[in-house]
Assembly symmetry: C2
Homo-oligomer: 474 residues x 2
């Protein structure tokens, strides 16, 4: 494809994407795709084309085969999982990234890639109210980043055991602590980092589903008495299930006392820290060793864009660095080598999508949208609290509600069937999209507010829909 063909086809695709987004914002595509497993594969050829195909054929397939098999996080009645807004200014930043074909291997391979990442992540640090004690980098996802954090914790606890005989040489078990409401990625990261399931302590939570720091303290003492080595504590700010807030300050105090690595998973709720009135939620954050926040969630950056902040970049670099001859350049020592800040060697020019977003919105624009969403969640909370037959199962510090419709006389497995049935009816209607989740052994429905297109009227529409659907029986 020549640049002139790219120009012509690029214009067509920009128009196509603008049209799709217009329809999605207007709710004209189903929120959740109605297709069945295998639908798309059965419609596409099982083998690659030997000869070049026309671009028209590709564009036709986008409409006929791809579009019906999409679900839309940008739909105004999207209330599933978490907001992943992919704001259009960020989309354009990512388009530039891909179009320029830059590849970060070292500073010289794309000076702008390294320096704009340094700059933009520092803008974000300032927006979040973090001190200059933290340095940041952009990673792909929170899962990968929490793995990096637990690897760094492992190496600090063993005084760089990887440079000797590895984890096998450590005589005492290394322990990782986290709330039983933590995200699945924390256990996955701990297992991949080699700690072993037996060395993961899931600490019970209080009635607000936040980690009980008294139990954490006791558990640490017990492990110490048994000769184990507490290596990492993970605090979650905004748990996936209920948006619970672990007590960071008290956890930081314990971590400091025992020399334990404190990792803070603020993947979702971290975006809200651009609002000064929300920063009480992670009070004590300056005591963290590492923090992960996903600007590709509520903040609106195109996926994938995860921010990782650390207090000791030298430690991160020591754990992650490689320096083969073919990657050395004259600028080494004068410029950051971002390959030494995470697992991958090569990197996309990810900063562009965050830079475009922050500039096009301004800090105030981002703040105003998040405040709108928090107000919408508070409005829905009031409705649920006032409605008979409805129960709210967790506090609503931000934009996520946990609700259940509990008709008189229904409990246990029958209540679960009811909950899953009305949620499924809404989702399969295509009109809105919600996520069921388990809490204390019972199903509930999460209403996660924060799509860019979601205004008060859409939350009202959802609430109407919920009240209608719970009355039907499937």
């Amino acid at each position: 494809m020549t640049p002139e063909e790219f120009r012509r086809r690029g214009h067509e695709l920009i128009d196509w994407m603008a049209d799709v987004r217009t329809r999605v914002y207007a709710g004209k595509h189903p929120a959740l795709s109605p297709v069945s497993p295998g639908w798309l594969r059965s419609r596409l050829p099982p083998s690659p084309p030997q000869s070049a195909e026309s671009f028209d054929a590709i564009l036709r397939d986008l409409d006929e085969h791809i579009l019906p098999a999409l679900s839309h996080f940008q739909h105004p009645l999207f209330f599933a999982y978490f907001p992943s807004n992919t704001l259009l200014a960020s989309v354009l930043g990512d388009h530039v990234s891909t179009g320029l074909g830059q590849l970060g291997l070292n500073w010289a391979s794309s000076p702008a890639l390294t320096e704009l990442e340094e700059l933009t992540i520092d803008w974000l640090r300032q927006m979040l109210g973090l001190s200059t004690n933290f340095s940041g980098v952009i990673e792909d996802t929170a899962s990968t980043t929490s793995l990096v954090a637990l690897l760094c914790a492992r190496e600090r606890a063993t005084n760089y055991g990887a440079t000797r005989g590895g984890l096998q040489e450590e005589p005492e078990p290394l322990i990782v602590y986290s709330s039983e409401q933590n995200h699945s990625s924390i256990e996955k990261a701990a297992l991949l980092a080699g700690y072993g399931r037996r060395n993961i302590r899931l600490i019970p939570t209080d009635r607000d589903h936040a980690l009980r720091v008294d139990v954490l303290a006791q558990t640490i003492e017990k492990d110490l008495a048994a000769g184990a080595i507490p290596a990492a504590v993970v605090a979650t700010i905004g748990t996936t299930g209920t948006c619970a807030l672990d007590p960071v300050a008290a956890m930081a105090e314990l971590a400091r006392k025992h020399g334990i690595w404190l990792h803070v998973d603020a993947a979702l709720a971290g975006s809200a820290m651009i609002l000064p009135e929300c920063r009480w939620m992670w009070e004590g954050i300056e005591g963290a060793d590492s923090i992960v926040i996903n600007p590709h969630k509520w903040l609106g950056a195109a996926f994938d864009c995860t921010a990782y902040f650390v207090r000791d970049p030298e430690h991160l670099i020591r754990v992650m660095s490689t320096n083969p001859s073919y990657l050395r350049v004259a600028a080494d020592g004068q410029a950051k080598n971002l390959r030494d800040w995470g697992i991958p060697l090569g990197r996309r020019f990810r900063a562009l999508k965050l830079w475009f977003l922050i500039r096009e919105q301004g800090v105030e624009g981002l703040q105003a949208r998040l405040r709108r969403d928090i107000a919408n969640a508070q409005w829905l909370k009031e409705q649920v609290d006032a409605a008979s037959g409805w129960k709210r199962l967790a506090p609503v510090p931000l934009q996520n509600l946990c609700v259940r419709h509990e008709p008189a006389g229904l409990e246990g497995a029958a209540l679960d069937r009811h909950t899953l049935a009305w949620c499924r009816r809404i989702n399969s209607s295509g009109r809105a999209w919600l996520t069921p989740a388990e809490l204390d052994g019972r199903w509930l429905v999460r209403v996660s507010i924060g799509a860019e297109a979601t205004e008060r009227q859409h939350v009202e529409e959802l609430w109407q829909l919920m009240r209608e659907e719970v009355m039907k029986e499937g």
Copy 2:
């Protein structure tokens, strides 16, 4: 930004990208950026804007500040590192991915994302001549993917030790074997996976810089005799330094005999396996447990697009899987959960950029370009071999040459200074871009051929430039 603003600005940016690419293909931007460390940061505001900025200001900054700080892998005289072509059809596929804002968490969150990835990676499997014994998935980079492979090897060797007490409970050291010419990412992966530097065996190479399988066999026997557990062998097809080809068939035989995990790193050279005449280079590949190939290199997909093929997907899933309630959907069991095929939970719609590429080029189009590049490398090899004062330091099976200009009387450190100086003169001229590398303790210059715009005339131009520059003294 509304869809209509996106449309207008998107058209402007498509034109801007088409113009930049046109100039890059014509060699009108320097291959290697001439800026110094800190140049870009000093020109941009250190704090984020409080209010929204005009999009015109962002576009102006692209021209004035970003563009001069770019290096170009698409330049016709790009001969550095490895080809990373980012063909324009693939760029458009990635644009669609970002614009649609799809997010893979499970099948239902974007049925097309999962199913097109299944389809496209299976197309690639067929193109590479791999049997249906292999299943594939798209990951971000070879570094991450080799980490996944070594984690899977660790868990197989320990019979899923992670589900018990982790690596610390294994009494016998687990050993990883690879050539001393392997890529830095292999050692990094082994250290991160917890094996420890003492348990990494770097096997010496033969005069073609390929792993010596006799030494490998002896080393394994010695470790076994000492009670250690050989866990993983890594073969490289196309080493970064010299494009050496480790003897996969013999290594597979050893791996099979001792029950060791065989991981094949064909990150660069794997693309060439779409050419049947090149498949002798990885003869025995069907004995691999895992294979990594980077379509974002020579094949031309936009970064990041790494293909990972495994023989036992159930094992991969068991090591990587998580299944919290909030991610379960009705389609589980009928559809792949790609989150269980690697480290990250969320995923981009990466298949689009590979699907667009394969369709727009056709298998024959991709094959023709790679054959052109191989022929260009053979031409340059003949010139170097015939020229007095020049030395070639490794075979040229594909597109990478290792050369040195060795004037009479120059050796040792003085020869190194000469090598680095003429390479630096070429790079700082902006006219071409080459990578110096160390081999057997001496510097050489790698000439890696394979940019899309690189025709025979550009290789001739490089050869002329090389012969001129070695005559100058810096």
